[in-house]
Symmetry: C2
């Protein structure tokens, strides 16, 4: 029986349609009857489980345990930090009825959890001995949004949010910078996505924060996508929620806080950055299936047995190499599909390495190995394959990172002239590195005229001087502009 090949739009032809096609056809996610909401299907959710496992371990290893706080926030709590409520008000979903009755006070569905967590922090933190206090939560978040863009813009999404409280401003600053670095390491090291990092401008920072640090990646269409942010909240929330501790000298002092999060949006970045005309291309370190073994004829007993041996040996080889991690190898023994259909499907699903096993391979105790990233196909002995499988996966990981890094580098442009700035932002887009005087007015004008925002202010300013790209005033600080998702 022959099945129709799953066709997708070419990436080069229509990037946005390609993106949606890949998600729907590779069964990562789907639309739902709830406007603005998506369902994350098993193959897509396996990617999020990979994030939870890898990033989750890093969070735990850094001494932050998980907990779970309420979904609903009484409106009066949300209002305690003035800038915070102002920032989130337009995006709220509000529960007004419960158990058949109108509520005396409406409940907000969490758009982030500062205001429901911090009254409890105030209760739990009493002494300097309770500090630093750190907790993390994996949960769902709601921010009102009806124009769904799968993974990138949905009414509901999943994330982790870490929250910490410290005795000193210095510790809070170090924590927030450390979390930015943690996200960068994860996004670059596991997802193979190169990033630029830095501080947000006053206009772009988190509502209620002193400083927001960000990890930004560049998508193939030249738009930036934020991959995790970390906020130094200073004492803003501590004062609003009366989070005080008795210090060693007996004085009661407000704590200094941070919060930091990474969401399912990151899966959108993963798809966009590495995918190609044939579909998804997954870095091995996040791929739910790292190697698929396809016997040409699954009805042939000898071939199936050989395929099983190859899979088992590859599995052992990878487990030995990558202690404790879940090397996943899948044998596609479905007999209702042709090998061609299967190759197409696994390419669409972005499995890093495919091992084909046919009569010739069985005869010669060999395998045919096909790399998803380059399409390279080569026959080798089974013994060699087992020896090299780890190296091949590492090569795929590294190749994907380097390819994306090259694209990022080529698309960071230093621009000194506003006409050129505008041209770049209509043309190739990408990041523009330009001098900025620091005024919110110039920033707002640039956004209005080019849709570009300041994505990141580098942390180490190279000693340079120039003129603000918009107003021409002298400036000593170059910042990264881009249009963003």
């Amino acid at each position: 029986m022959e099945f129709e090949k799953k066709e997708i739009t070419k990436k080069s032809k229509d990037f946005s349609r390609w993106y949606t096609d890949v998600i729907l056809k590779a069964e990562l996610a789907d639309y739902t009857p709830v406007k603005g909401s998506m369902v994350i299907r098993p193959y897509g959710y396996a990617l999020w489980e990979g994030v939870q496992q890898r990033l989750g371990q890093a969070i735990k290893d850094s001494g932050v345990p998980n907990a779970y706080f309420p979904l609903f926030i009484p409106h009066s709590l949300l209002e305690k930090e003035k800038k915070h409520v102002k920032g989130f008000s337009p995006e709220l979903a509000v529960v007004t009825h419960g158990g058949g009755k109108k509520l005396a006070e409406p409940l907000v569905v969490r758009p982030t959890s500062e205001t429901i967590m911090y009254p409890l922090f105030a209760k739990w933190i009493q002494s300097w001995r309770d500090l630093p206090f750190k907790v993390n939560q994996w949960c769902n978040i709601v921010r009102w949004e009806l124009r769904t863009y799968l993974f990138l813009r949905t009414l509901e999404f999943l994330w982790q949010e870490g929250h910490t409280a410290h005795a000193t401003a210095k510790e809070a600053e170090e924590e927030s910078l450390g979390r930015m670095k943690m996200y960068q390491d994860f996004v670059e090291g596991v997802l193979a996505i190169p990033t630029i990092v830095g501080r947000k401008s006053a206009a772009e920072k988190f509502a209620g924060a002193e400083n927001t640090y960000t990890v930004e990646a560049l998508m193939p269409d030249g738009k930036a996508l934020q991959c995790g942010t970390s906020h130094n909240l200073g004492q803003n929330f501590a004062k609003a929620f009366e989070i005080q501790f008795q210090d060693k000298d007996g004085q009661r002092r407000y704590v200094y806080q941070t919060s930091w999060g990474l969401s399912t949006r990151i899966i959108g970045a993963l798809i966009m950055v590495h995918g190609d005309d044939n579909g998804l291309v997954l870095p091995p370190r996040i791929a739910p299936i790292q190697v698929v073994v396809v016997p040409i004829d699954p009805e042939d007993k000898e071939q199936m047995e050989y395929a099983r041996d190859v899979a088992a040996e590859s599995n052992s080889a990878l487990r030995r190499a990558d202690q404790g991690s879940a090397a996943t190898i899948y044998i596609d023994d479905r007999s209702q599909y042709t090998p061609g259909y299967k190759y197409n499907e696994w390419e669409l699903k972005g499995v890093p390495v495919r091992i084909e096993v046919g009569p010739a391979e069985v005869r010669e105790n060999a395998v045919t190995v096909v790399r998803r990233d380059t399409g390279e196909k080569c026959q080798m002995s089974n013994v060699k394959c087992q020896k090299e499988i780890e190296k091949i996966l590492n090569d795929v990981q590294e190749n994907l990172y380097q390819k994306a890094r090259k694209f990022l580098k080529e698309n960071i442009r230093e621009v000194e002239d506003y006409a050129e700035f505008k041209k770049v932002m209509t043309g190739p887009r990408g990041f523009i590195k330009a001098f900025w005087c620091g005024s919110s007015e110039c920033e707002a004008k640039i956004k209005e005229e080019t849709r570009a925002t300041i994505r990141a202010i580098p942390l180490e300013s190279e000693s340079a001087s120039g003129r603000c790209i918009y107003c021409g005033r002298s400036s000593s600080s170059q910042v990264f502009f881009a249009q963003a998702y």
Copy 2:
């Protein structure tokens, strides 16, 4: 410096206050500013993570992948299955406003996910090749409830819900029975809680199900607590949501479905069943910390070094024994607390085994091992301890199970007289095994007069005959009654 010992009410004196004391003092959970909602604190959440890991692996191993469906359900979808909406209507939280506007159609916060999942099942399931279709989700659930009882009755709770679709009624029945068995294995094997299983009566079954299967445990106060349920939904939802597949003969047929869930309530059972006057008592297979090593004087370098060796060796011994599982050993090196304070705290937190290390132990290359369940304390050589640590933990696990099993057995009473039934239900309570004629009227009267409900109808009916405990009509089926949480 000396700290006050954390006091809790005695279990025998006031069971309900003891329960709340243990939860608050062992920092498993806390009340929140949101009426009806609780926060699960890190030590309590670690228990839930244990559930997610152990039960989650069983679910995955049985071929059910995880996914994530929307939190919000349009009210019109909830209404599609008539009995279902009727059952859940009184418990709903309703979002009426989003993004600052009143919604055209109110959204319900999921009280369970059948009605948001199944429109998508209808889209994804087309052919017999797509069956069986199975998916699981770990998520938060809201059922309106303002009288909080920590873990047992809260407005919001966490759970997993598995949903499957099958080509035949037989397969669906097998699936729902299999999931009941899976929950029983988990609750008995990991949580060391003995259970009785069976079918629910028409009055007690899930709104919209053909049959509900249940796993029931007995709490020390004689009340039953449901530990997971599994529903055979028949074609009720398939017809409401038009979930059809083309069968091998070309005919379009409705699927048969099941759903099954286990929630954070289970942690309430775990606390109640095993705890004692000194606090929590955790079965090793679910304990976040299995062994705590307490050096008497953490400032003594030699002692600390020895304590670290003991911990490292115990860790290796346990990891060898229990491949892949996370044996967790914690060294309590806090110098601001006395050993007595620490012993008290770890007892309160239910850590199965405590290893004390003082000058005598260092001198003799020995350790003092204290079991949480029995209080037994014995000195042994470090070598012997490493050899036996696995066995000791297994003994604790088995002892807790047997103790609870004895209690359960002693509290299942066969009763043939309604006066005695009423007396038992005011007195020791527990399960009553009694004949029931099968009528909902008798069932309702019994509930009204004794607050006892039918908890489970045994699956294999022993060939017996007797008279209905309420109406006296002849009956061939004995069922389990109890008051319930």
